[in-house]
């Protein structure tokens, strides 16, 4: 089965890249953009077929490598 991991900066951690994107959007005339936060999407193709087991395994991957939990949060989405 497949899994998608969303890695985002924790609230309160400044995101200079998101800030630069916001400035650029303003320059293009998108004045209504109040804030931009940039993150990552990681897609995994897994051999595991049991969803609960796969989710546990992906969460462990996030804790050990995919996210740096000092500065980042993650969210796991299982796909059929």
């Amino acid at each position: 089965m497949k899994a998608r991991v969303f890695v985002t900066l924790k609230q309160g951690v400044l995101d200079p890249q998101g800030e630069a994107v916001r400035h650029s959007l303003h320059a293009l005339g998108f004045e209504g953009v109040n804030a931009v936060r940039q993150g990552k999407v990681i897609e995994l193709d897994l051999a595991e077929t049991d969803e609960a087991q796969a989710r546990r395994s992906v969460q462990e991957m996030c804790e050990k490598l995919l996210a740096n939990t000092v500065i980042e949060d993650y969210r796991v989405e299982m796909l059929p």
Partner: protein, 223 residues
């Protein structure tokens, strides 16, 4: 002092660090490929060099921090061994959990490559005993992700325990509390973004980095 330098694919300051170690200790370091699983016996200091290990994929230092040799480096540090991580090496040490906090994209978003003025914040470590407290030294930085972040409680603790080794006099990257380098709890692991190995000989344009290597060598002779 017997030294070793860990080499990852994409390390590019490994030889500079080897020269600095050799000049301070009188013997060349062991160069250790990241796929090794054990360190040679009798090593006193491990250097983790600057560069762009694994192309900075995922996060700077993230892949390197999980390389096979890093388990041996963590054991070495836990036994009280000395570890010096410079630039990408500092990023690797935070990713490996050997130092607290993380290094993020520079606040100005630009790669910063220039000499900066640092203040030595503590003499209380084998790395910094060769300087005076409050001494200003000139050392180059060359990084895109040197913006040190840690939650306020950790910064307070680093301060309280005198573990901030160096601060920037004119912060080039947005680091919290102007932090340029920090020490571990046992004061034997130092991570810093600036490159003392690039300023360790007058022929390089300055020698303000040399006391770091010299005092390390002296501490390890007398121990």
């Amino acid at each position: 002092m017997r030294t070793a330098v860990i080499v990852f694919p994409g390390s590019n300051c490994d030889r500079d660090l080897a020269v600095a170690f050799r000049n301070a200790s009188g013997r060349p370091p062991e160069m250790i490929w990241h796929k090794e699983t054990a360190l040679p016996a009798g090593i006193d200091v491990i250097g983790i060099p600057g560069g762009f290990s694994f192309g900075d994929y995922l996060r700077c230092g993230a892949i390197s921090a999980r390389a096979p040799i890093m388990r041996a480096v963590a054991d070495f540090a836990a036994r009280g061994g000395y570890v010096l991580g410079i630039c990408n090496g500092f990023q690797v040490l935070t990713e490996a959990g050997l130092l607290p906090g993380a290094l993020m994209r520079n606040a100005g978003l630009k790669f910063v490559c220039k000499d900066v003025s640092l203040s030595v914040q503590t003499r209380n470590s084998a790395f910094t005993a060769g300087y005076d407290k409050g001494q200003h030294i000139r050392i180059p930085v060359a990084h895109h992700d040197g913006n040190y972040v840690a939650d306020p409680a950790i910064v307070e603790r680093l301060r309280g325990e005198d573990r901030i080794a160096f601060t920037y006099d004119d912060n080039p990257n947005g680091s919290v509390a102007d932090i340029a380098g920090i020490l571990s709890e046992n004061r034997r692991v130092l991570g810093m973004m600036p490159h003392p190995e690039r300023m360790a000989d007058p022929t390089l344009g300055g020698a303000d980095g040399a006391p770091l290597f010299r005092s390390l060598a002296e501490a390890l002779v007398s121990s």
